[in-house]
């Protein structure tokens, strides 16, 4: 008996040690990302001065001396992001308000998961859609010289970030206590006055968080923008000019510049600039939320000259219109891919002959296999580190400095653009660890990227296991090890599964990080599950490549559509699974769905 107790106590100690080590790894990841970005980034300063890089307008890394000016890219990033957020923010806010407050229950029940599903459409698919529809539209009808333009990029990114923003804002508005709404209605407020004076102010923090999330994605969005922005190395003067945001610039150049060249280092510098923008957005949002939390002193509220009832009707109409626009855009894109994809999908397209180095005619089979392998290995790594970290944060971490560092690390990782993960992986795994372009390097990169997703969902799942179950187990003398094994893990399983599926989904849809670490045309492994040290093909990469380089080739569109459909099916079904698991979990712990 004594022996057994001692043994269990020891197991518990060992468990806690391993959990702590896992948690420490996420700090290491953040430090690593900054370390490698800075390490390589500052080397660019050997060739050009800080001013030349930040304010220089010409990019010619091969000339002597090299010209490493990033100003056009910086301006492009800001321009595209501004357009995207200016469109998506109001539409999302109105949409979210409508869904949270006005929509009939059945509509909300169907649309809430539908919106979350749409968040799972891969960005490369948005890019494909943009290049085949909006780009020609802008060329023929808007007078954009080539069609590729800031405007099209902004619109595509706006559509992409809509579901994210709407989802977060809707949750925030839904959680405003009813009693405030009742107080306002009781005072004779119109529906619109309730929105303006109660729902939005009370949900301000969540609305800001939604805005921040969308802005971060817009800043970092790479593949879609690389496809539709045009890639011109000039400062865009009008929204109809082509441009090249930082993220797209990194993607386009990273694969062509030799390791160790001046341009190569400048790309890391570009990554640093991007991270700086991301950090600025986060800091501004935190500051704003802090400030907005305090009541304003005698704020003069303009009642407006418009009859409040009329205003209320107008705004309700506007909210519905926003909802319809958002729904139309998203349904339009999904429908477009489905219709074209089904037409293009055939046995041959999927399992026909593989021709090396020919992305158009080679069948999709190796790409699908590569995607699955990347999903599988990246998720294994992310779970091995993420779930223990989550468990540590949820139940074993006090409020120590270490815990705060881990939390901050996770928050930071969540805001890092995927292309920066690509740069990180390209240095650490591909070059320093000598993995080369390989499944393993890609999977480790994707795993780092997905760590925050896994940690956050799993931590939430562990946290919401009701305390009384834990106490019941502890009460009968269970060691912590047994509490984890017999109570926490089984109870939190659906929640953890939801996190895992989301991470698999992101691993499938992100093209940017793997282009820098894992994929190659030709010379791909026939079995990426086994040959993890060889490069591979992947669906998202195939779509990107065809859309970027091969659209002139006959049958290219067909192949791209077929690949897009397969990819969408993979990500949507994973997303569906995640949402289903989340609901199941919420029901299990008895939360309002």
């Amino acid at each position: 008996m004594k022996e057994l107790v001692r043994e269990q106590a020891q197991t518990t100690r060992r468990m806690i040690t391993s959990l702590t080590v896992a948690a420490a790894l996420s700090i290491a990841a953040v430090v690593g990302i900054y370390f490698f970005l800075t390490l390589n980034g500052v080397k660019a300063l050997q060739f050009n001065s800080l001013g030349q890089i930040l304010l220089g307008t010409s990019w010619d890394p091969e000339s002597t001396p090299p010209k490493l000016g990033l100003l056009p890219m910086i301006i492009s990033t800001l321009y595209v992001t501004a357009i995207a957020v200016a469109i998506a923010f109001p539409v999302s806010l109105l949409c979210a308000t409508y869904l949270a407050e006005f929509a009939p229950t059945f509509l909300r029940r169907t649309l809430r998961p539908a919106i979350d599903m749409l968040a799972g459409i891969p960005s490369v698919v948005y890019g494909l859609f943009g290049i085949l529809t909006l780009v020609p539209f802008a060329r023929y009808y808007l007078g954009a010289p080539s069609g590729y333009s800031v405007l099209v990029a902004g619109i595509i990114v706006a559509i992409m970030i809509l579901p994210y923003m709407t989802s977060v804002m809707m949750e925030a508005i839904r959680s405003v206590p009813r009693e405030y709404v009742e107080a306002a209605l009781g005072m004779g407020a119109t529906r619109w006055q309730v929105v303006r004076t109660v729902l939005w102010p009370a949900a301000l923090s969540g609305i800001a968080a939604g805005g921040m999330l969308g802005t971060l994605r817009a800043l970092g969005e790479t593949v879609a923008v690389a496809l539709v922005a045009g890639g011109a190395l000039m400062i865009p003067h009008s929204p109809l000019d082509p441009c090249r945001p930082l993220s797209a610039h990194i993607l386009l150049q990273a694969t062509v510049l030799p390791v160790g060249s001046p341009g190569y280092y400048a790309l890391y510098f570009a990554g640093l600039v991007l991270m700086l923008m991301v950090t600025a957005v986060i800091v501004i949002t935190y500051w704003y939320r802090e400030r907005a939390g305090k009541p304003k002193v005698r704020r003069k509220v303009k009642a407006g000259r418009v009859n409040p009832v009329l205003a209320s009707k107008l705004m309700t109409g506007l909210m519905i219109a926003a909802g319809v626009i958002a729904a139309a855009a998203l349904v339009g894109i999904t429908g477009y891919i489905f219709v074209n994809g089904i037409g293009a999908l055939s046995w041959d397209a999927l399992f026909g002959p593989v021709s090396i180095g020919d992305p158009v005619h080679s069948s999709l089979y190796p790409a699908l296999l590569g995607t699955l392998a990347l999903m599988f290995y990246s998720t294994v790594f992310a779970v091995l580190v993420g779930v223990p970290t989550a468990l540590y944060l949820a139940h074993f971490a006090g409020e120590s400095r270490f815990t705060r560092a881990v939390r901050f690390a996770i928050d930071t990782l969540a805001g890092v653009p995927s292309i920066v993960y690509g740069l990180f992986g390209a240095t650490l795994f591909v070059v320093y660890m000598k993995m080369g372009y390989s499944v393993l390097a890609g999977a480790l990169t994707l795993a780092t990227m997905n760590l925050p997703v896994v940690v956050r969902t799993a931590e939430e799942a562990f946290r919401s296991v009701p305390r009384e179950y834990i106490e019941a187990a502890r009460g009968v003398g269970a060691s912590w090890y047994h509490v984890v094994k017999d109570v926490l893990l089984p109870m939190a399983k659906p929640g953890i599964t939801a996190g895992i599926t989301l991470s698999m989904c992101r691993a499938a849809e992100e093209a940017a990080p793997i282009i820098l670490t894992a994929v190659m045309i030709g010379l791909v492994s026939s079995n990426p599950f086994v040959h993890v040290l060889q490069p591979t093909d992947a669906l998202a990469f195939r779509i990107y490549l065809i859309a970027k380089e091969y659209l002139m080739v006959p049958e290219a569109k067909q192949k791209a559509f077929a690949a897009a459909l397969v990819l969408i099916l993979v990500t949507l079904s994973l997303n569906f699974l995640a949402i289903y698991m989340r609901d199941k979990f919420e029901r299990r712990v008895g939360r309002r769905v």
């Binding site: 405030y180 005072m187 119109t190 004076t197 305090k294 009541p295 005698r298 407006g304 009832v309």
Partner: protein, 253 residues
């Protein structure tokens, strides 16, 4: 004169009938207390007077609630409903001042909704705080957040917010049940001060409270109105056996 004339009022939540034919006059500028056990429909009745019942999509009403010559239950347009609510103010059970606004802004809230100009609002805010017996306690910190007040003060702030719009009727649904005895007393005193100025409907399940402040009292049971009378009369000389029983049990031996 009756402020509200309620005739054969039925309310259904889906299939469940919460009020089963209430007929009652609410006298003008007097305090009417409504008593009854939990779940008997007191709050539902209040929701018919301020039309909050219209905010519950699955609720249905039958009968007549007459106010100022109109059957308000027939109001459908937002105009009619909000106009009614601006004359009939409500104080809820749980104090619900807006925490993101200052004390001043909370009281000014309804006036700003109506688009009144700020100079006039200022006078009305002080007047309302005075009436709610809160002015002395908050005069030097009107710009503090409302959440900095104690529970009792918050509830009086809600009363001030309701009074600021100068309503004809003040509906109070168990306004003291979240408060301690001293805060409760203060609210009762405030309410008694308002007697003769506004029509007050005061829901409570504390019988001594109903007795202390009521001019008239109505006793609800399982969705029905058992008895309504002058307060003294109802408590000292109940006509219905069920009223007598309830009062005996609740008041104690």
């Amino acid at each position: 004169m009756a402020a509200f004339k309620v005739r054969d009022l039925h309310v259904y939540y889906g299939d469940k009938e919460a009020l089963k034919g209430i007929t009652l006059d609410i006298p003008e500028k007097k305090i009417t207390t409504i008593i009854g056990p939990s779940g008997c429909g007191k709050s539902t009745f209040i929701r018919c007077l301020n039309l909050m019942i219209k905010e519950i999509p699955y609720a249905r009403t039958e009968g007549v609630v007459e106010f100022d010559g109109d059957n308000i239950l027939e109001y459908e347009s937002e105009e009619e409903i909000i106009e009614h609510r601006r004359r009939v103010a409500t104080v809820f059970q749980h104090p619900n001042p807006f925490p993101w606004m200052s004390i001043y802004d909370n009281v000014a809230y309804g006036l700003r909704l109506m688009g009144m100009d700020e100079d006039e609002i200022e006078d009305r805010v002080y007047e309302a705080l005075e009436k709610a017996a809160l002015l002395d306690e908050v005069e030097d910190r009107l710009d503090d957040p409302a959440s900095a007040l104690s529970g009792g003060q918050q509830q009086r702030l809600c009363i001030a917010r309701a009074l600021a719009v100068d309503p004809d009727v003040l509906l109070m649904d168990e306004p003291t049940s979240d408060l301690d005895p001293i805060a409760t007393r203060k609210i009762e005193e405030t309410v008694l001060e308002l007697r003769g100025e506004v029509t007050i409907v005061f829901v409570t399940h504390i019988l001594p409270q109903a007795y202390r402040i009521g001019d008239y009292t109505a006793f609800f049971l399982k969705g029905e109105l058992v008895e309504a009378n002058e307060t003294k009369e109802l408590f000292n000389n109940p006509q219905d056996e069920r009223t007598r029983e309830y009062i005996e049990v609740e008041f104690g031996p």
